[in-house]
């Protein structure tokens, strides 16, 4: 069985780690991590191969630095990694990105048929969960998004059964392979790699594939392959801040001042909110 996991290296925007020993609070550095949803997908893929046999190949489209995210995945058990890196890939929107990844998967499939593709639900750096479905559509794989549990995989009948988190409910659904899954964090946190596996991953040479290696039509990748383009950029009109009440001026005073101002300026909102008839 050959499983391909698509990952993305993202800035670590959410972490405000507080180390009690060194008291380091916020880091403004160059940290990049493997998108948390993606590495959960890799962990699930590795677990499947541990149970059913087979191999996991992890791929990413990005600059050279993205290789460290690939290594994180190999440290937890992915067997092979490919970095898709080429200047031609720069500036890709979601259509071009899914084209590039799908082309790489097709190439990998020629040697060893890919039956399952796993992507994270979305990237935490503002990505929009569009890449997975795009890849599934191009490869004509069955698409199962928001997977929170892999219930059963039958390699003989080539059927997979999963639990999906949809709006207001959990859904148990079954699909024929080949299939593309996008996964939720609940699927299972990645293991803490053993030292030998980590060291092996750090030493691994990661092949780099460009547009030529994946047989991509140069007009379909990167900026050239992107129907959407940025017209302009601007700083968002700042929501203007209002009055600031500092309790170091005296708790009661500042809060009285605040409540006075609030009741004066926003009487209507307060009435709406506090009116028992509008509750519920």
């Amino acid at each position: 069985m050959h499983i391909v996991c698509c990952i993305k290296q993202v800035p670590d925007t959410t972490q405000v780690k507080i180390d009690p020993v060194t008291n380091t609070l916020i880091r403004a550095g160059v940290e990049s991590i493997c998108n948390p949803y993606d590495i959960v997908g890799v962990e699930a893929a590795v677990k499947l191969t541990e149970r059913y046999g087979g191999k996991v190949t992890v791929i990413t489209m990005g600059p050279q630095q993205a290789d460290s995210a690939l290594r994180d995945c190999m440290a937890i058990g992915a067997h092979k990694a490919i970095l898709l890196s080429d200047r031609a890939f720069a500036g890709a929107d979601t259509l071009a990105t899914s084209y590039t990844l799908a082309s790489a998967i097709t190439k990998l499939s020629a040697k060893d048929p890919v039956e399952i593709v796993i992507c994270g639900k979305q990237a935490i750096d503002g990505d929009t969960a569009q890449t997975g479905p795009g890849i599934a559509t191009r490869l004509d794989f069955n698409q199962l998004t928001y997977v929170s549990e892999i219930i059963n995989l039958d390699l003989e009948k080539k059927v997979i059964r999963v639990r999906r988190e949809i709006e207001g409910a959990s859904q148990i659904i079954e699909a024929n392979l080949p299939v593309l899954l996008t996964v939720e964090l609940q699927l299972g946190a990645p293991r803490y790699a053993s030292l030998p596996n980590l060291i092996k991953a750090l030493r691994q040479e990661i092949p780099v594939w460009g547009a030529r290696e994946i047989g991509a039509d140069p007009d379909m990748v990167g900026l050239k392959g992107s129907p959407t383009s940025v017209k302009s950029i601007f700083a968002p009109p700042p929501r203007k801040g209002g009055p600031v009440f500092d309790t170091s001026d005296g708790l009661e005073n500042s809060l009285n001042s605040f409540l006075d101002t609030l009741f004066q300026k926003d009487q209507s909102i307060l009435t709406e909110v506090l009116n028992p008839n509008s509750k519920g």
Partner: protein, 434 residues
């Protein structure tokens, strides 16, 4: 884990990586463990590095893409009272020419990461996000490797170099360094304030690649034994204020309040006006000095950098001591491995090297300085106040005769400190740095 290494280094900071570079250059099989997600993620300093010492490790560092923020061409010292202050600075164009990169500012996250990558390119294996929790010992109790917190995480090594920083949980656990008392460390908080490069260049009168450093003493540490800094980076200014941990415990001042007050000081505020704080960190400084330096060698191990309390507070030198000690540790190890002898006696060469070098010479010279500062709180309270009064009155032209002013100032000195005491402070201060 079965694979063994010649040297295992704990900590991928300036000391550890300097050693790794020297060892890798000599073909020694080296592994470096870093607890942070990447080298530098847990490091913080005001931000200055010393070209001389970096050149000893990487002679052509400026051509290897070293992430330099600004080349320092002027050093300032300020002595501040609550609303005023004395300033003195020394600027010399030689620091843009033959002595370029004598001192330069860096961002530690960027620099440490780049520095570790140089060691990696030379052949050292850098393993991030992994914590060394203990030493491996052979049947005689000698250190024979490290134990990490990962599965199969034991790594046999002929020599272990401890370079895991001022907090060094490992030194504390294994007892190789005595437990630090609060008065041996300072707690510093730092903010990086973003400002456009042109604004910085205008405010400090420097060209796009140059900058200044300012060391600040006085009342800005809330009466505590401490120091503050203002360093210029390319697009930001690093400001930091720190004080002796024992003083923090005693006064209960909150570090956050201290830095807020510092930022609002009339001499500081205009320099950072309009800037946006983009980073806030805190760290310990190894202020104890010479008397807190542990035994830096043992059976199968050495200690370098902040772990060994190698920090010269008076001259704000730490990174150079770290790099120099890392280099000397590496050289010692190379000799020891050649001899096939990693015993205490063999590794004692490290201490010899340190003693012969500026590292121990400087540490020894200033051995009494930390105590002097700690025991002379007038430096941070009455003296700045008196100094403010003296300058304020002398500079005000208001018809009072200079002799009268002098009398008033002396009266104030007598009242606040006492002439005799002042003389003693000056005398003891001089003695402590001689």
């Amino acid at each position: 884990m079965n694979e063994s290494f010649d040297v295992a280094i704990v900590g991928a900071g300036p000391a550890g990586i300097s050693a790794a570079c020297i060892l890798a250059d000599a073909g020694i099989k080296t592994i470096v463990f870093e607890r942070g997600e990447y080298p530098g993620s847990k490091n913080m300093s005001g931000g200055v590095l010393y070209g001389h010492n970096l050149r000893q490790i990487l002679p052509n560092f400026d051509q290897l893409g070293c992430p330099v923020e600004r080349n320092i061409i002027e050093s300032r010292i300020w002595y501040l009272s609550k609303e005023a202050g004395y300033t003195i600075g020394y600027r010399d164009n030689i620091f843009t020419q033959e002595r370029k990169y004598n001192v330069f500012t860096v961002g530690r996250a960027k620099f440490d990461r780049w520095f570790a990558d140089q060691a990696r390119k030379k052949g050292a294996l850098i393993v991030p996000a992994t914590v060394v929790v203990d030493f491996l010992r052979d049947k005689n109790g000698r250190v024979s490797g490290v134990v990490t917190n990962r599965a199969d995480g034991e790594v046999p090594a002929s020599v272990v170099l401890l370079a895991d920083g001022v907090n060094s949980p490992l030194a504390a656990k294994t007892g190789f360094r005595a437990e630090l008392k609060p008065e041996h460390v300072a707690l510093a908080v730092k903010e990086v304030i973003e400002l456009p490069a042109e604004v910085i260049e205008q405010r400090f009168c420097v060209s796009p690649s140059d900058g200044i450093t300012t060391e600040v003493l006085g009342e800005i540490t809330g009466g505590m034994d401490g120091v503050a800094i203002i360093y210029t980076n390319k697009n930001s200014i690093s400001i930091s204020v720190g004080a002796n941990l024992a003083d923090f415990v005693r006064t209960k001042i909150k570090p956050y309040e201290l830095i807020e007050a510092y930022k609002q000081h009339p001499l500081v505020a205009p320099l950072i006006a309009g800037g946006k704080p983009i980073e806030y960190t805190a760290h310990w400084l190894a202020e104890g000095g010479y008397y807190t330096i542990p035994q830096v060698y043992g059976n199968g191990y050495l200690i370098a950098g902040d772990s060994a309390m190698l920090f010269n507070a008076l001259h704000r030198e730490g990174s150079n001591l770290a790099m120099a000690s890392g280099k000397m540790a590496a050289e010692t190890i190379i000799e020891a491995l050649k001899r096939g002898d990693t015993s205490r006696k063999s590794l004692s060469l490290y201490a010899e090297k340190l003693n012969d070098s500026f590292v121990m010479k400087d540490m020894k010279k200033y051995r009494n300085f930390p105590a002097f500062l700690y025991n002379t709180h007038q430096l941070f309270n009455e003296l700045p106040q008196v100094a403010q009064l003296a300058a304020r009155e002398m500079l005000t032209v208001n018809g009072i005769s200079k002799k009268q002013k002098q009398k008033d100032i002396m009266a104030e000195i007598r009242k606040k400190i006492g002439l005799f005491k002042l003389a003693r402070i000056i005398w003891r201060g001089w003695r402590s740095v001689k």
